[in-house]
């Protein structure tokens, strides 16, 4: 089986699993995603290639991100490519002797707070703040 077909089947399986987990019928999803029910069925069985735009509409209809429908390895590679470690964290990691993977996990943990509604101001974390954060999660990181 070619890599392309394998990828297509994997996407289709993911779409169907998320759809059924959410108790959505194929008709409901095809209506929301503005594609025909027959086409959705073909996509779910890996018989049809799906364009980026339609994949986005399907993801939106399912209430998930496009990266949830594509291979996890691709999504992780994309995330890795966009990784920027702030200077303050690099310095804190050096002082603390942290491994690269622990440093990345600290960064991911901090960034999992993606939005805060506040009337106050917020600035980039200092080296000390990164160290304090590490202190709070040290035991979990080392598990």
């Amino acid at each position: 089986m070619s890599q392309e077909i394998s990828r297509r089947i994997e996407i289709g399986v993911r779409i169907k699993k998320i759809r059924t987990d959410k108790n959505m019928t194929g008709k409901e999803l095809s209506n929301i995603a503005q594609i025909s029910q027959g086409y959705l069925s073909e996509v779910e069985r890996g018989l049809s290639e799906v364009s980026g735009e339609k994949l986005m509409r399907i993801a939106e209809g399912l209430g998930v991100g496009v990266q949830d429908l594509i291979a996890r390895e691709s999504a992780l590679a994309e995330a890795k490519n966009s990784l920027i470690i702030p200077n303050a964290l690099s310095e804190a990691a050096e002082d603390l002797g942290l491994s690269f993977s622990h440093t990345v996990r600290l960064l991911q943990g901090a960034h999992s707070l993606m939005a805060r509604r506040s009337s106050g101001t917020q600035s980039e974390w200092t080296k000390q703040q990164w160290k304090d954060f590490y202190g709070k999660v040290k035991l979990l990181l080392e598990e």
């Binding site: 959410k22 805060r116 980039e124």
Partner: protein, 336 residues
């Protein structure tokens, strides 16, 4: 919105990510157009969820949250934070939740939105919105929709070209998110049926309270007032008045002054307008409401709403409603 040239790089990238995520055309030189498109695209994302639900705001929030995998968590006491840490930090190994205690301790923080690192694509709590209710419950309804608007408008973290930072509500993106939140929280297809039967009556706070109780009892009076003003079929605007100094003065003399809150399209067309920080006339019913605490619903002319520099706002016969809330008065002006 600010001019596109004055944006920071991060704001531009976040706005860029939003329009890409929503699949809309960019209008960087026409912010108003972009806002309309973003709001419309977010409304479209929830429209299929509205067909079978009871027209109530709290139900709407829960339905959208469930569909988009957002779990609401309310924090009132330290015990609630202990529980969050137990479930998410120690239970699900979500390191980000180590920040919750310190964040919630800040009285300026209303809400936090986490995108869980260890969640699977089908977890119902893939995003966790934490509402800070330790001081007041007033903003809970609005903040739920604000966090949902983030979820609707912004792409998940891994596909952002530039990692998001924690932001405050003066940020341009947050203002856009607020517009989305307002349009979803009081979605016309659910909200209008509550307003339509009352449209022949004068616009009063009695109407506002009736609609609030029927549609979203947990919403603040001000947010419902603004929503009704927007939906009203005649020119209308809402304001809050409190004792404030003149902007150009020495700050020692306080007068009852206006902060405009909302104004519908018909009011814009009819030139019904209040200027920020203008004085409430002492012979206006709103001033009397502030003085006595007794709610008002009267007809008066805007010709008494004058400026210290001379002249008045455009003259109209108006229906004026006022209600006292502590040190402030809420007011609604509408044309018959």
């Amino acid at each position: 919105m600010r001019n596109a040239n004055s944006r920071t790089l991060e704001t531009s990238l976040r706005l860029d990510a939003i329009v890409n995520h929503l699949g809309i055309a960019k209008h960087w030189e026409d912010n108003g157009h972009m806002e309309v498109d973003v709001i419309s695209a977010c409304r479209d994302k929830v429209s299929s969820l509205l067909t079978k639900i009871e027209p109530k705001g709290e139900i709407l929030a829960q339905v959208i949250a469930t569909h988009f995998q957002v779990q609401f968590e309310e924090v009132r006491t330290n015990f609630d934070i202990d529980k969050l840490e137990e479930v998410y930090l120690y239970g699900k190994k979500e390191l980000g939740f180590a920040q919750v205690r310190e964040e919630i301790a800040s009285p300026s923080v209303d809400a936090l939105l986490f995108q869980r690192i260890n969640a699977t694509s089908s977890d119902r709590d893939r995003w966790v919105a934490i509402l800070n209710l330790t001081i007041t419950e007033d903003r809970a309804y609005w903040n739920k929709f604000h966090e949902l608007a983030h979820r609707l408008a912004e792409p998940p973290q891994p596909v952002l070209p530039f990692k998001r930072q924690k932001v405050n509500d003066r940020d341009e993106v947050e203002r856009l998110i607020d517009l989305v939140a307002g349009s979803i929280a009081f979605h016309p297809s659910l909200f209008s049926p509550h307003v339509s039967p009352l449209q022949k009556m004068p616009l009063s706070f009695e109407i506002v309270e009736m609609v609030r109780q029927a549609y979203a009892p947990t919403a603040s009076l001000l947010s419902v007032t603004n929503a009704i003003v927007s939906a009203w079929p005649r020119p209308a605007l809402a304001f809050v008045a409190s004792m404030q100094p003149k902007r150009s003065g020495d700050g020692t003399r306080l007068d009852l002054r206006v902060q405009p809150q909302s104004r519908n399209k018909l009011a814009v067309e009819a030139n019904l307008i209040l200027r920020p920080n203008m004085r409430v006339p002492i012979n206006s019913a709103v001033y009397e409401t502030f003085r006595t605490g007794i709610s008002s619903l009267v007809t008066e002319s805007t010709n008494i709403w004058t400026f210290s520099t001379g002249g008045s706002i455009p003259i109209h016969p108006i229906t004026l409603a006022g209600i006292s809330l502590g040190e402030r008065v809420y007011g609604i002006m509408s044309l018959s």
